[in-house]
Amino acid sequence: MERDPTVCVMGEDVGHYGGSYKVTKGMAEKFGDLRVLDTPIAENSFTGMGIGAAMSGLRPIIEGMNMGFLLLAFNQISNNCGMLHYTSGGQFKIPVVIRGPGGVGRQLGAEHSQRLESYFQSIPGIQMVACSTPYNAKGLMKAAIRSENPVILFEHVLLYNLKERIPDEEYICSLEEAEMVRPGEHVTILTYSRMRYHVMQAAKTLVNKGYDPEVIDIRSLKPFDLHTIGNSVRKTHRVLIVEECMRTGGIGASLTAAITENFHDYLDAPIICLSSQDVPTPYAGTLEEWTVVQPAQIVTAVEKLCQ
């Protein structure tokens, strides 16, 4: 925002309150109320307003206080964010970032624990990325702001407390590239967002059991980095997908299709896709735990794949 005065933030409680998860803490004091705009609770309209502002020269970052609330803005995100550049014959650009906390948290109930990647992924004209570490959160956010394309940036409610030393000098991450988390030989595990940590927990067990898994945080949910993924498949010949997304029509389903289409000849076993269950996220802690993938399931799946 210091670098480009057209960059602004809009959403519920992003200003004086500093954001529901304090992502924009202190920014209203620094940049003023217009650049860090507290909006009324009207998701479809303030999202549309961000799109109109982008069409006329600004670069808004639109926050969904909880990502689930953006379902109320689905019309604007789909019709105008995704399609308007095309329907206008390329005349208007929509350089917005739509971001916010999502995913399954701790007993937040069904509406606040949504996995929206599956809903948004078929919208044409939109890029989607998920951050998972402080380093890539910053790098992806900068890249998203500077992109000429509309970008949806998925943050996860359970990852805001992570701490990491990040470089003082400027860096950005590519919106199209996956991140190699742990190179390995036996199996490719593709994951993103919070499930990266479940995968890494499982990886410890797997290493103790003599396996050498390759872990890739795909980061770019749309489009997929088929280069990094393909190179890994060619090496390990086995793929496990671990996601928090809904099973039906989710990111894992699209990823399975993309790998089958492009790298079928290199697979020695059918792809296994571990997704969360197709149920509204239950409130009760135990039920919630059984809704999302747990590390033990990951270990079992790898053992099965590598038999």
Partner: protein
């Protein structure tokens, strides 16, 4: 509520004597004839199979588009609905470009990618035809937000651009309408909300759809002036528009204007239009805004019959030319298919070979499978 809002919470009654100069009168007349002739030609071309899809014509409502848009500067923005051809024409988009778009041709204002309900022009600040009810209003509000932002954050003191959002009576029962009235009044955005109340949705009468049919009253409820005007009288519309645009330009905030108008044709060319009472249609047909303006110009010696006939003839030729141009223009080539999906085509991602997929010649040819 501000003083002006209180004051304007009554429908305005206007004195229509000497409201327009000769030159303005001719310009307004020409624009209205342009809109009408263009739309009549669209009907012909639709029935001749030159254009497809849902085509919503503006006949009868010309006083609204002309009354507002002809008072705008090029830098000012307009957001429309699915009934958008005439707004684009009034704002300066050429009849050739709009007709060509309707024919689905490459030379159309959106390269044939938008169609009847999605007219855009960056050059003329036409922010779009929007096909869903109400979705253009937030976008218009965003453009008005940019004007305020440029003035107050980017310190462009001379930025006094305003935005006009057009929509119908049906939209006024939709949340985005209320949400944007609230935000625009809250931040005093330079926007004018113009309701083209043609009394009917498709087959739903306004009176059957809304609890209080007087839409203008909703302005004061949000702290902005609400004005009711005869939308069949371009001179009255113009007077109201002047005041509302001036108010927005001075940074005094938004205005809600309800223009009572009527569409002379069905909702779209696919609508059999069986529900509207013939007596009601006849009543409004007798109040044709173009006939009324013509009468006014002649009676006040602002124009002569031959002058107006010359305008009619010129517009006829312009529309003939637009049809000829559209007819002769090429259809989009396949290579156009994958252009404009992303402003930065890197959005298509990285292929298995490690190169951006948009670098593949199949992308340029439009034959890649995405």
């Amino acid at each position: 509520m501000s003083f002006s809002a209180t004051k304007l919470a009554q429908p305005l009654t206007l004195n229509t004597t000497a409201l327009i100069t000769k030159q303005e009168g001719l310009e307004v007349y020409e624009d209205m004839v342009l809109g009408r002739t263009f739309e009549d030609m669209c009907a012909q071309m639709y029935y001749r199979g030159k254009m497809f899809g849902f085509v919503h014509l503006y006949n009868g409502q010309e006083a609204v588009s002309t009354g507002f848009i002809k008072l705008l500067k090029k830098e000012d923005s307009v957001a429309s609905t699915y009934r958008d051809h005439v707004h684009a024409l009034s704002k300066g988009v050429s009849a050739r470009a709009v007709m060509s778009e309707l024919f689905g041709k490459k030379t159309g204002c959106c390269r044939g990618q938008g169609g009847s309900m999605h007219m855009f022009s960056k050059e003329h600040n036409v922010l779009g035809g929007f096909a869903f009810i109400g979705e253009g209003i937030p976008v218009a509000t965003g453009a008005a937000f940019t004007s305020k932002y440029r003035r107050e954050v980017l310190k462009e003191a001379d930025c006094d651009h305003v935005t006009v959002a057009f929509f119908g009576d049906g939209t006024c029962n939709n949340g985005q309408f209320f949400e944007c009235l609230n935000m625009a009044a809250l931040w005093k955005l330079p926007i004018i909300f113009v309701v083209e109340n043609n009394l009917w949705a498709i087959g739903m009468s306004h009176l059957r759809a809304t609890s209080d049919p007087e839409i203008w009253k909703k302005g004061p409820a949000f702290g902005m002036p609400g004005v009711h005007v005869d939308g069949m009288d371009v001179l009255k519309v113009r007077e109201v528009a002047k005041e509302a645009i001036g108010r927005a330009r001075r940074g005094e905030g938004p205005t809600l204007v309800e223009c009572e108008t009527y569409r002379f044709r069905g909702h779209s060319l696919a609508d059999p239009d069986e529900l509207r009472d013939p007596a009601e249609k006849a009543h409004y047909a007798a109040r044709d805004p173009i006939t009324a303006l013509k009468k006014y110009l002649l009676e006040n010696n602002l124009a002569s019959e031959p002058e107006l006939k010359a305008i009619d003839k010129r517009i006829d030729e312009l529309i003939e030319d637009a049809v000829e141009f559209a007819d002769e223009s090429p259809f989009p080539a396949r290579s156009q298919l994958l252009e404009n999906v992303f402003a930065d085509p890197k959005g298509f991602g990285i292929g298995p070979d490690g190169r951006y997929r948009c670098e593949d010649p199949k992308f340029t040819e439009g034959t890649a499978h995405v």
